[in-house]
């Protein structure tokens, strides 16, 4: 085998080529990890938002969007009293009627932005055990509780959403009562306020949905309830299935993400291949000389692979460094919710695999071409 230092020195033979290879690899890996982090984040927020134990009762025909749904107020108590096997805490059945609403608001610093409101009452905490009030308290009348990521989702300074600040919504001021977290769910970018306040302000007499946490009851039990109470015109859907459907709606965005990453990556790979073809082609005679000395093609191939892997893994390292500064912790807001880009083990693994593949698969065609000519012919090349 040729010494490893031979591969290292070859790498430094042409600094411009090295820069091009490292830069190209870094770009490809960065794009890939960004795409994976984005799609993982989006999948994660949609998956975490739905619990298989929760059932959403919506108005018939609105199974794909709670925002469009209208559920009569009476449905809330009807579910609680008619269906057995629902979760209970201190005698309170885990049934929460909620109103969701999108509208502009103005912060105390005068910034206007579109926000996602959820009108709730304390039972909402019973159906969402993952939700924790980080500071302050659950909103009472005239108050709003903000999600941990809502400042980023709204694009306002965090100080605008600090406890005690005022938010103006539908010409009425609300005091921020606290902050809550519900890790990885769409709720973290929402603003929660008293359901009655929201109903009054929006002149709404119905709920958007009734959320039910089961403890023995099945989805079929709730479907039967919805069918029996056809006067209420209801439909029951498992919460995780609801968010799965929502995720399918975002499929084209994911495809576009991969397509964009793929196209730029393909460009970089072809550019890299071209660079390697040129670089290796100029060393055909050197490779032939080493073969004449007694090195076999396998040893030379290994050395060429070492060289390319060094460059591509350096590029991968650069990509990770850039990702730590540009991607890690960055909040992405979509209408479905807000999520944080994270360099998770999966993302890191994808980046590393991409780096290794670039250094190996990308090297093989030019390496084979360099080592393919017969020795007498290769020794005569310039």
């Amino acid at each position: 085998m040729l010494p490893f230092t031979y591969a290292v020195r070859n790498l430094l033979r042409d600094p411009a080529r090295l820069l091009q290879t490292v830069g190209g690899s870094a770009l490809v890996v960065l794009l890939l990890i960004a795409a994976v982090a984005f799609n993982n984040g989006m999948d994660g927020v949609l998956t975490a938002s739905g619990s298989p134990r929760n059932v959403i009762i919506v108005g018939k025909g609105s199974e794909e969007s709670i925002e469009r749904s209208e559920v009569p107020l009476a449905s809330e108590s009807a579910v609680a009293t008619s269906v057995r096997g629902l979760s209970e805490q201190l005698g309170q059945v885990a049934v929460a009627g909620e109103i969701v609403y999108q509208a502009p608001l103005t912060t105390s610093s005068g910034k206007k932005t579109q926000a996602f409101f959820r009108g709730v009452l304390p039972p909402s905490l019973l159906v969402r055990p993952e939700l924790q009030v980080l500071s302050g308290h659950f909103p009472g009348p005239g108050e709003i509780m903000v999600g941990r990521l809502s400042a980023k989702a709204l694009g306002v300074p965090p100080s605008d959403l600090a406890e005690g600040q005022t938010l103006n919504f539908e010409d009425q001021d609300f005091i921020i009562s606290g902050t809550f977290t519900a890790p990885g769910t769409v709720m973290e970018s929402e603003l929660w306020l008293d359901r009655n306040d929201l109903a009054t302000l929006t002149q709404r007499e119905s709920l958007s949905a009734v959320l039910v946490r089961t403890d023995g009851a099945s989805i079929e039990d709730l479907e039967v309830f919805a069918l029996q109470r056809n006067d209420l015109e209801l439909s029951a859907i498992r919460e995780d299935r609801y968010y799965e459907k929502l995720a399918q709606f975002y499929g084209p965005i994911k495809v576009m993400t991969w397509l964009t990453a793929g196209l730029v990556a393909a460009g970089a790979i072809f550019g890299g291949l071209n660079t390697l073809y040129a670089a290796f082609a100029s060393r055909i005679r050197e490779m032939a000389t080493l073969q004449a000395i007694g090195y076999n093609r396998k040893a030379l191939l290994v050395s060429l692979l070492q060289e390319s892997l060094l460059a591509s893994l350096t590029g991968t390292l650069v990509a990770f460094l850039v990702a730590v500064f540009l991607l890690e912790g960055r909040t992405v807001s979509l209408s479905v919710g807000t999520f944080v880009l994270a360099l998770s083990p999966t993302v890191i693994l994808v980046g590393l695999v991409a780096g290794v593949l670039l250094g190996t698969v990308g090297t093989l065609p030019p390496a084979f071409r360099t080592l393919a000519p017969s020795l007498p012919k290769a020794l005569r090349s310039q």
Partner: protein, 228 residues
């Protein structure tokens, strides 16, 4: 006692498009151990083809090629690579040194193929460089050496693993007269004092004169032999 190199009815042909070219046909030749043989002839006469076959970097189409104990014509590509690493030193017209390596590292290349300690390698490389008179240039890169010095480094690389056979393709073709003479003197000394068998292709009659024997090839066949 049989000759070190025994060539019998050796032929080489290859196809280029629809044309079959036969640069070497039915060649028979013996080369004794310690011989310094010059191969001359016009372009296309088959002298480089013969040199490549003897060096084991090309394989014959037919005939036998026995070098020492090895039937070289029957060796596979991998076996040939291994055989070359032990038994052959190749000297090129344009030196073919690896530009990113120092003279020392270039000479060390053949030794990296054997299981040898670093200290042993250092000793052998230093001896080879001393033999070619370049001990003081060990850490210079090829670009920092003259043509004559580069060829000396190439010769050191060819002899460092102590092969019985040296093949040289126009070793003085790119050198000025003074450097060429010194390289030819070095090759003669390797044959006379170190028992190396040398096969050299050259166009230069003065270079051929330095050899013990000169063979002339024409159209892939041996035409005359001149002994010095």
């Amino acid at each position: 006692m049989s000759a070190f190199i025994q060539i019998r009815d050796l032929a080489k042909s290859y196809t280029k498009g629809k044309v079959t070219i036969t640069p070497l046909e039915g060649l028979t030749l013996d080369v004794e151990k310690g011989d310094f043989l010059a191969l001359m002839g016009p372009s296309g006469s088959g002298k480089t083809t013969l040199l490549n076959l003897v060096a084991g970097i090309d394989t014959p189409t037919s005939g036998t090629l026995q070098i020492g104990d090895h039937d070289v014509a029957k060796l596979s590509r991998a076996q040939l690579a291994k055989w070359r690493s032990k038994h052959v030193g190749y000297i090129f017209q344009l030196y073919h040194l690896v530009p990113i390596l120092s003279a020392f590292e270039n000479v060390e290349l053949p030794l990296l193929l054997s299981k040898m300690s670093k200290a042993e390698r250092r000793e052998k490389v230093n001896s080879a460089l001393e033999l070619v008179g370049l001990a003081d240039r060990a850490h210079h890169r090829p670009t920092e050496l003259s043509g004559g010095q580069e060829q000396r480094v190439a010769i050191a690389r060819a002899i460092v693993h102590n092969p019985e056979l040296l093949v040289a393709d126009e070793p003085t073709g790119d050198l000025d007269r003074e450097s060429a003479d010194s390289i030819l003197a070095l090759l003669s000394s390797l044959a006379d004092d170190h028992g190396k068998t040398i096969v050299m292709v050259t166009h230069d009659p003065k270079a051929a004169a330095a050899a013990k024997r000169t063979l002339h090839l024409e159209k892939g066949q041996l035409v005359t032999a001149t002994a010095v």
